[in-house]
């Protein structure tokens, strides 16, 4: 998960419907793993 944090990949979130329209803005949440654990 260190590399996910490094590049800014939010992990296995599966639902970005609230963010698809927010163009050119930082995504506000950190990564979650496939087991649902936060980083």
């Amino acid at each position: 998960m260190a590399s996910w944090k490094m590049i800014g990949f939010p992990g296995a979130r599966y639902d970005y419907r609230d963010h698809i329209d927010k163009h050119n803005q930082p995504y506000p949440h950190g990564p979650v793993s496939i087991y649902g654990m936060g980083g």
Binding site: S3, W4, M6, I7, G8, F9, P10, G11, A12, R13, Y14, D15, Y16, R17, H19, I20, D21, H23, N24, Q25, P26, Y27, I34
Partner: protein
């Protein structure tokens, strides 16, 4: 000795997109149908669970859902002077495996080939003269646009395609694709919401005078109930589409559109993990009586049927015909024979741009999420002063930000170490791309046959592919790269690179799972393996359905046309063939 089973009205080889559609339509017409599928049973709730479907290593890298070469491999070469060798792993293209076929792991780009594709030889000859295409084996498909359009409509409504019509009954519609052929009605769902990169692409293309439109998508923009009553969900832009199955019921596949209805029918049965070895013909070779298959325990069965539908992946359809001696092998030296003729692929190039201070958020993606221009596709532009025919759609899609595979870096970046790490940090949020997906036109020397040396685990010859990018297509693709060189300038990117296709097809790096032709449809039994209804000219109770029937490949993804051909063939079988079995077209 094979165990002889009770006869069915129809035996379907392969339960992917086409097999499912054919099974649905034929069982509706009252036929007893069995589908025999080599791979496993797969369904959304049990096999595509959203709790583990985002496993990039398992699905994208280790290719969990794909056909493995120990089940079926192929041999490959670029030209007839070479000795073809078997691949050790699937690379350039990735056939599917199991129920749903390649429709499980596709991205969902759902195009309609154009009027000018189905009548390509007539069209190009009228516009440019026969000399223009003398080095190409382009031929009309035998079916006309007006005949096939309702079948496209059926497939799009089955899937709930999200898009914007560009040509409604001849009236050009703002916001859609002005180059598409006339459609009878609007898409069943509105376009998807667009991410930043695709929006920036569309704006920049519009400013340059091009005609961007939302890519028609089988990732659904909203919840939908299809004509069979099957409910589908809204796409959540999760970024795990191609190489993955959808755990969200929002990507159209056999599982999410047809199987929930089909599997409940008393006159349908599927046998999974059963591999058909061949179609058995009567001694005169003019009638299919049964198929022979092995189950998971290696027990051999003979399944008789009145109709045999070959509905596997395009390449496997061709191999099944050759192994069963349905039709005659194409000979590139003489041009005689039809099975294996007109194998085509896809001819692509791409542009990648790097910026500073951007937030593209590539992980907010979907397989078919993007914008396209067709200004340089097919015959949308004048080729009279150009040394090629054909073209490409140019699309900016945002499919994923998966961290193993998607780490764009500037050219010259070290391949490992601290500098590479920093470059991937910079590139991840600051990079976008777009690509040309170009047509692939048939030439005499690109073809499929059975390998003379290498065999599969059952001792059957492997399929041998002989393919290289024809000069025409290389010229086309390089012209598209020239256009993309101009297109990238107004983006004012820090760095932009456009790739150029070269001759020498390499089967190792992934390129496209759009293999077409080999059992092409047409009006002339000398140049086509199946007639306009996808019925074998030689064995009329065999239909061969899939991209194997494409007489050429256009600058578009094939599945929309594959789905249309499935409905088209199903209609011919249910309204014509079962009333009067025999050849639907006299040779």
């Amino acid at each position: 000795m094979a165990r002889l089973l009770p006869k069915k009205d129809a035996v379907i080889i392969g339960l992917g997109w086409t097999g499912s559609i054919l099974a649905q339509q034929l069982t509706d017409a009252g036929l007893n149908v069995v589908a025999i599928e080599r791979g496993p049973w797969r369904d959304t709730a049990t096999d595509f669970n959203i709790a583990y479907m985002q496993d990039e290593l398992r699905y994208a890298v280790r290719k969990d859902l794909f056909l493995q070469p120990n089940v079926e491999a192929m041999t490959m070469r670029n030209d007839m002077s070479q000795t073809a060798l078997p691949m050790r792993d699937y690379g350039s293209f990735l056939p599917g495996n199991g129920v749903g076929g390649a429709g499980v792991h596709w991205n969902g780009h759902t195009w309609r080939f154009w009027d000018s594709d189905f009548s390509i030889r007539t069209h190009l000859t009228q516009r440019y003269g026969a000399a223009k295409i003398k080095n190409l084996q382009l031929q009309d498909w035998g079916v006309t646009w007006n005949e096939i359009e309702p079948s496209f409509d059926q497939f799009e409504y089955l899937c709930g395609i999200s898009g914007k019509a560009g040509n409604l009954k001849g009236q050009i519609q703002p916001g859609g694709n002005p180059f598409e052929s006339a459609r009878s009605r609007e898409y069943p769902n509105p376009p998807m919401r667009m991410p930043y990169a695709s929006t920036l692409f569309a704006q920049t293309m519009k400013e340059q005078g091009y005609h961007p439109f939302p890519l028609p998508s089988a990732n659904l923009s909203q919840a939908y109930v299809n004509p069979l009553g099957v409910r589908m969900g809204q796409c959540s832009y999760c970024g795990f589409c191609e190489r993955f199955a959808c755990g969200n019921y929002s990507k159209a596949s056999a599982q999410t559109t047809v199987l929930p209805v089909l599997m409940k029918k008393p006159n349908f049965e599927v046998r999974t993990e059963c591999e058909v070895l061949k179609v058995n013909l009567t001694p005169d070779g003019k009638h299919a009586k049964s198929v022979t298959y092995l189950d998971a325990n290696g027990v051999e069965y003979e399944q008789p049927g009145d109709i045999v539908l070959i509905c596997a992946y395009a390449l496997m359809n061709v191999r099944m015909m050759l192994l069963s001696r349905i039709g005659t092998q194409y000979d590139p030296k003489t041009g005689a024979g039809t099975v294996g003729r007109n194998y085509c692929y896809q001819t692509s190039a791409g542009a990648r741009l790097f910026f500073e201070g951007k937030h593209f958020n590539p992980f907010i993606g979907a397989g078919s999420l993007g914008q396209t221009i067709d200004d340089f596709n097919g015959d949308a532009f004048d080729h009279s002063k150009l040394d090629f025919v054909g073209g490409a759609g140019i699309s900016c899609t945002v499919t994923n930000g998966r961290p193993i595979g998607n780490r764009p870096t500037l050219p010259g970046t070290p391949r490992w170490g601290a500098q590479w790490k920093q470059a991937t940090v910079d590139g991840y949020q600051n990079s976008m791309g777009f690509g040309s997906q170009g047509s692939s036109y048939p030439v005499r020397e690109n073809y499929l046959d059975l390998d003379p040396t290498y065999t599969d685990r059952h001792g059957r010859p492997l399929l041998r592919m002989t393919f290289d990018f024809p000069d025409n297509d290389v010229a086309m693709s390089n012209y598209l790269s020239d256009q993309m060189e101009k297109m990238v300038k107004p983006f004012n990117a820090k760095y932009a690179a456009v790739s150029r296709l070269k001759k020498g097809w390499n089967s190792v790096p992934y390129q496209s799972t759009h293999n077409t032709g080999g059992a092409v449809m047409g009006n002339d039994p000398k140049t086509s393996a199946v007639n306009k209804y996808l019925q074998s000219w030689d064995v009329p109770n065999v239909f061969v359905i899939g991209a194997s029937a494409f007489a050429h490949n256009a600058g578009m993804n094939p599945t929309g046309t594959v789905g249309a051909l499935a409905f088209w063939a199903a209609e011919a079988i249910t309204t014509k063939y079962i009333k009067s079995p025999g050849a639907l077209v006299q040779a």
